[in-house]
Each structure stands twice: as structure tokens, then as C-alpha cells.
Symmetry: C2
Subunit: 461 residues, 2 copies
């Protein structure tokens, strides 16, 4: 049966599009979340067009072989991880920007287009594709769509889903569904576009997307503010939100993160007292407007107890200030192995999350550094551990889970942008409850009755 499927895939897609070499397959068998389980695929196939995707899906459906769709593999939930005996369907060769329409501010792209490539291409037309997950230099739009990827831009611009007008999707029966439209508005039928965005490859394979674009913003002005405590930084975030300023970036780093970055960069960030926290803020509205926004943010920070604030309209200097944030995870990884959470909490609960993480760190005797998107409450508490030290992995996992628990208890979600995948299924069930899970299963069964796509990911049938 398996051999017959391989023969059919080779016949329909061409021999080079079908890989069965175990070393090569291993590189396509998991994403960037090392803790999620991964199986051994039967084959890895890389169709070159939507017709190829359709042929592969049909062949697998008829053979009863599961399909795990996959982009560049930058995911952080194991949602692109192989299951034993599956066909991994890689969409990176569908990498064409089909159309850029500046007058309607939209682009039509295939799923294999790299996020950065799209950003660069539309920038030439004075346009902006905001979603900016940290892997933007190599992740693909298809993966961004499947996981509803976020990034630093979300505080002002929202997530990937907010930029999707329509999709072309190959369904489990091989039929091709077109969702959405090219127009700005439209209410003809259910919002199937949003159903597929973020469904982590469990409902179909996206073969084309129509994306809305924004005008290219101005070069950012940047502000950094140092606080004596995470509570003070959290209070500043609440003040900024209440004052009605919508910055284009608002990030927080706690004391443990600042320590790690200072060690890694061999520099003093000038944050003053121990146990403090940093806020980094940008405005991309330009000129007097940006100056007014940052002045308001600065005032909110001072009122909340900031010990130091500094701002610049020079993009180069702003980049330098942002470097501390950008290297944060790398700095933490230089200290050991990392488990990075992505809980999202109401913005008023950020300080409680940070102090809660300090408690958890004390409990397990490990470093937990909190860095995150303060403007939308999406935090990345990161547990640092030594995988070779007896019992440390277990303690790290205990801390990781305790942080998810804390996030839920603060009215948050277990995943703000990384997704559920093969790693947080039980946490999804806990967050959405029995009725929510039942509705997920009913929808999955309705669209993929044979459980063809990504079986066991997100939830089990």
C-alpha cells in the first residue's frame, strides 16, 4: 500500500518532489519546539503548485495515509511535526508572489513566500505587510497563516488573521475551496477564512492567500524607560493603554532578562537598581505626531515611577536601543536550554504575571526570565535549565506548566501566538472546556471526516 502510494506520488509530482531518504526526512520531521513529539514520515513531498498539492492530498486520502502540512518549520508548538507513517507536505516551493495591487492595497501570494520577501516586495510599492513573527527572515506566509502568527507589530496592527481577505484551500476530499474576497468588506456567508487561519493544518492545505496591506509607516521613533520594579512597569502599561496612545511597539523585559542581556552583550543597560524592568516603545507615525505619542508615553512612564527615560527619533539609535530586546532569547539560550511560554494575559495583569514567575523560579530553583509584548499582554516567560543536570528538565517542565496555570488564573490564554500543536493539547482542552472541545471535534469531523490532516495535533478526535 505504502509503496503504491509512493509510486503514485512520484508519478504525479515527479520523482524529485518525493523524498524518502531518512536523513533528509529527519530535517522535515519537526519544527522549532524540541519538547513536542515527532514521528517518522513515510515520505516528504514538495509539490510545485496547487495542482500538485491537490494530487498529493488525493493520493494520501485514498491510501488512508495522514498528511502533515508544513512551511519552513519555524513553528514553536510541534504543529508541523510528523506522525509515524505520514506524508509531510511541504509548501515552500509554492513561493510566488502572484500579484501586488497598490490601488486596492492587497497582495495575492502562494504559501511558500517568505515573510521578509513579501515585506520587501510590497515596500517597493510604499506598502506594508505588518505581521512580524520573530522568524520573519525565514518563516513562510503559509506557516504564518496556519498558526495565525503574531509578532511585535500586534499592539498597533493586529495578527496575521487581520490581514487575510481570502484563501484558496485544498480540502481533505481534494476539492478546492475559495474563501473570502478581494474587497475590503463582505458578509456573504460564514467567515471560513478565519476558520482556516490558525487551524494549524488540521482542516486543509492553504495554496493561495489574498492579503490586505497598509500604507508604509514612517521610520520609528524609540523610547526606553527603566523602572525599579516589574509592578511599576506594568502600571505604566495600564496608564499608556488608558491614555489612549497606540504605539507601534511596546515591549517589556524583566530583571532576569536584563541581567542575561547585560552579560551577553557585556554592557550596562543603565537600568539602575536591581530587580527592575525595562519598557521599550516605538511610534511609527512620524514627525510631530510620533513626538507627541512618545511624550505621552514618557509621561505615563514617569507617573508610574520610571527612574530613567530616553527617547530618540534617530532610527539607527533606535535600532541600538532595540538590540537589547532582540537578543533577549539568544542571551538566555547562552545560559542553558530554554522553555519559552507564550501566555497572553489582560494588560492590567502583566505585573502579576512577572511577580508570579519570580515565585515559580524560586520554587523550582531555576531562572525564569520574562520578556514580552507588553502592549498586548503576550508574555514569553522563559525557563532556563541545564539539560545534563539531574532533574533539571523535570523542574523546568514543572515551571513551564505552572506559568500556563498562572496565565489562565489571570484571565489569560495558554497561547498568545505560538499555537497548540502537538504540545499543548491538554492545555487547550482545559482552556476551552468540554463544549468548546466538542465544537472543535464537530467541525474537524465535518471538514475532515477521515482525520487526514495533522491527526492528533491541537486535539484528538
Amino acid at each position: 500500500m505504502s509503496n503504491a502510494l509512493l509510486d503514485r506520488l512520484r508519478a504525479e509530482l515527479g520523482g524529485e518532489a518525493v523524498v524518502t531518504d531518512s536523513d533528509v526526512m529527519a530535517t522535515y520531521s519537526r519544527d522549532q519546539m524540541p519538547l513536542a513529539p515527532a514521528g517518522t514520515p513515510l515520505a516528504v513531498v514538495s509539490p510545485e503548485d496547487a495542482e500538485g498539492v491537490r494530487a498529493a492530498v488525493r493520493a494520501c486520502a485514498e491510501a488512508g495515509v495522514p498528511v502533515v502540512p508544513r512551511g519552513a518549520g519555524s513553528g514553536l508548538s510541534g504543529a508541523a511535526n510528523a506522525v509515524d507513517g505520514c506524508v509531510v507536505l511541504v509548501t515552500t516551493k509554492l513561493d510566488r508572489i502572484v500579484e501586488i495591487d497598490p490601488d486596492n492595497r492587497l497582495a495575492v501570494v502562494q504559501p511558500g513566500v517568505v515573510n521578509q520577501a513579501l515585506r520587501d516586495a510590497v515596500a517597493k510599492h510604499g506598502l506594508f505587510y505588518p505581521p512580524d513573527p520573530s522568524s520573519y527572515e525565514w518563516c513562510t506566509v503559509g506557516g504564518n497563516l496556519a498558526t495565525n502568527a503574531g509578532g511585535l507589530c500586534c499592539v498597533k496592527y493586529g495578527v496575521t488573521a487581520d490581514f487575510v481577505l481570502g484563501l484558496e484551500v485544498v480540502l481533505a476530499d481534494g476539492s478546492v475551496l475559495r474563501t473570502g474576497r478581494r474587497t475590503v468588506k463582505g458578509v456573504a456567508g460564514y467567515d471560513l477564512t478565519r476558520l482556516f487561519v490558525g487551524s494549524e493544518g488540521t482542516l486543509g492545505v492553504i495554496t493561495e492567500a489574498t492579503l490586505s496591506l497598509r500604507p508604509l509607516p514612517q521610520a520609528p521613533a524609540t523610547l526606553v524607560a527603566a523602572f525599579p520594579s516589574a509592578s511599576a512597569a506594568g502600571a505604566a502599561v495600564s496608564r499608556i493603554v488608558r491614555e489612549g496612545v497606540v504605539p507601534s511597539l511596546l515591549e517589556i523585559m524583566d530583571a532576569a532578562t536584563i541581567d542575561a542581556v547585560q552579560t551577553y552583550l557585556r554592557t550596562d543597560l543603565g537600568t539602575g537598581s536591581q530587580g527592575g524592568a525595562l519598557l521599550l516603545c516605538q511610534s511609527d507615525t512620524g514627525g510631530a505626531q510620533a513626538a507627541a505619542e512618545l511624550a505621552a508615553v514618557e509621561s505615563s512612564c514617569r507617573d508610574a515611577g520610571a527612574e530613567m527615560t530616553y527617547h530618540t527619533t534617530d532610527p539607527g539609535e533606535g535600532d541600538l536601543l532595540m538590540r537589547a530586546r532582540r537578543v533577549a532569547l539568544t542571551a538566555l539560550e547562552s545560559m542553558g536550554s530554554c522553555m519559552t511560554d507564550d501566555v497572553c494575559v489582560p494588560r492590567t495583569r502583566i505585573a502579576e504575571l512577572v511577580t508570579g514567575c519570580e515565585r515559580i523560579a524560586d520554587d523550582v530553583g531555576l531562572t525564569v526570565a520574562v520578556v514580552g509584548h507588553a502592549g498586548d499582554g503576550n508574555m514569553h516567560p522563559t525557563v532556563v535549565y541545564d539539560p545534563t543536570a539531574e532533574g533539571e528538565f523535570d523542574r523546568a517542565k514543572r515551571a513551564f506548566d505552572a506559568i500556563l496555570d498562572l496565565g489562565l488564573s489571570l484571565g489569560g490564554t495558554v497561547t498568545g501566538e505560538h499555537g497548540v500543536g502537538r504540545f499543548k493539547q491538554e492545555w487547550l482542552a482545559r482552556e476551552i472546556g468540554a463544549v468548546g472541545l466538542d465544537v472543535h471535534r464537530r467541525i474537524k469531523r465535518a471538514l475532515d471526516p477521515g482525520n487526514l490532516f495533522n491527526p492528533g495535533s491541537m486535539f484528538s478526535l
Copy 2:
């Protein structure tokens, strides 16, 4: 059976919540779209809380009696119209604003809250709930959610769906589903929130919504521009989009609309030559920023051939300028009966839509006036006819359908904001195609296997 159901509903909801008087029921049997069919209900029930909704749904499900959910009845597609023998479930008594949380910029509301009441309540906290369908003074948030209502705000702020963080929904089996979250971001599972928003009461009854809010904008600055032709006005819209300005309002009125408004208001709008068109534009960013935005818009209008432009930062004068747009439909209704389309086309195709409507008007020998949300391409071509004149209704309907056809041929959708309901089922099928319709049916069957909610609306099983 029916009597047993009435007894049960009276026992569970209280006698006053169950109406069977035929005159009263008639007022609850249809919305504001006179062309959609409406049946005679068995009863109209008005529960006072979510538990009452649940009890009514369970009782109807067990009796096999369809449920048609309904808000204030301001809809324009017949989606709230009764079917024979159904129970109309009115949610207007669930009218509590449960919570306003300024620091997290969100509100929790019951479905019966009137749009304007919510706007007023959050404005006291310096916050803004943008969705502004033209019935905002009396339509309810529940109806806005069910139809994914739009309005004038959409060009800058988006539609109702863009402001929904989470929902509480009573499903066909009487279970209570909670979708979404209170946080800004979240990717835990499928986007069930968006599936229910815009589903026109076919999948469940919304009993609570968590809505995101924006900072209250500044008082608007207003610009009006008169063009010698619809083509020139359409070209101006494309220029404005391309220049990257995002006004808070951008409306168009064609020559037929201008004529009707001038007659109705007994005034000369000073638009110059016959056959012209007007653009109305506002910016709500305030001060220098608003001045700069309107200056850019003015320049785009001039470049596209505007014969006259005028702008003001005085809100009162702006209101006066906007009056021409606000009275447009009333002015047209004073000329006869109206059939109002709501096709949405790519913004570059607006001029073609207007000139196409002129052709259609000539063909059928009736006035077709085009007014609409130019900033997002959502147009309201309105066919004016005399219902007492032999054959005029049929000709009006032919024009109405020809406009839908034209909208689709321009790459648009048959409904930008009014919905499908009991009026555009065949057009939905045509727009989304066989696969799209099949997916709709599969989802409906998965969530409402007994076809309890709003049967025959949007599509038939």
C-alpha cells in the same frame, strides 16, 4: 405538541415573555427588508437572561420547532424573518452592559444593548466602539454581531467582527459555548468567535459578547469635493488609497443621489455641472495631523479633476456638510419605493460600478442612485420605483439583480454589510460556488444537525 411547547415556554420563561397575539407577533415577524418572505410564528418569546434563552432553545429543540433569533429587527436581508410555525426568540431584554474595563479597553455586553447606548457608555470612559450601522440609534449589538454589521467607520476601523474578543453562545443542543478570550491576542484553537459573528442566527444564539474598544478619536475635520463625473471621483478614491491616507470616513454620492438630495433639502449643494459626483471625507486624528490628512486628500481630489473642494475643522459645519449624505436614502424614499443593493467592489472599480448603474437605469427606465462607502468600495445603488405602476416592481427587481451581477463581474461581493438572509440565498450560492456552499452545509449540520436555528436562511440544507 405546539400547545405543550407554549405551556412549557410559559412555565419556564413566565407568561409575559411568551406572546401569541397575532397583531403583536406580526411586528416581530420581519425586519426592514420588505422583499424577503416572512412566515407566521407560533410564538414570540423574550427571555430576560441567558438561562431563559437556554430554556427556550431546549424546549424548541425537543419539540422540533424552529427558532428564529432576533434583535431589534433593523436588518436588511430578512435574516430575522419568521418562518411558519417557528418561535421568534427576541434578545432585546438581555440589555445589560455587564462591564466596562478601561485599562484593558474592553466591554462585556448582553446582545440586547442598543449600539448607541454602548457608544455613549464607553465614551464616558474616553473609549470608542466604532461599528456604526446607519440604524445605530436603535439596532442592538446582538443583531450587529449576527450580521457582522458595518457602517461609515469601516474605512478606518473595520467591521463589527474586528471588535469581538469572545462570545457566549447557546447551541442547538442547549449547551453553552464560550469562544475567544479577554486578552488582545490568542490562538488557542479554531477561531469560533468569527464563525458565529456574521452567521445570521443560523448556528446559535449569542447571549454575551466581550468587545474590544479604541481610544475615543478627536472631533472630525471634514472635506467635501465635487467632481465633473463619477469616473473622476472614483479616480480620486484610488489616489487617496495609493497615497496611503486612511480617513475615518470616505463617502461617495453620484449625480442621481445629488439631484434627489437637492430636491429633498430644497438647496443647491453647489456641486457644479450635471452628471457629477461628490466625495465626503473626514479625519478624526485631530489638529495638525487631521489638517495634513485632509490636505493630502484635497490634493488627490484636485489631481483627479475635482472642480470644487471645501474643508472645515468646525464639527458643526462638518455635520452640516455630512447632512447631504445622511439624508440620501430618505431623499430617495421621498421619490418612491426603494430597493437598496449593498455590493462591495474593489476600490478601483467604483467608477465602473457607478457608470454600470447608469446603464442599468437606462435599460429599465428607472432611477438608480448610487451612494456608498467609497473608502471600502461598499456601494448602495438604490433603485427607485413606483410600486403602484404596472410592471415597475418587476423592472426594479431586474435592475436590482443586474447590479448584483455587475458587482460580481467587477470582482466584488453581493453583500458588503447587509447579509444574505432570506433574500440573497441564490446569490450567495453563485458567489461562493458549489464547494463553498457544501462547506457551509457541513458546518451547519455539524453544529445544528436538527436545522433548529433560522432554517432556510442564508442557504438551505
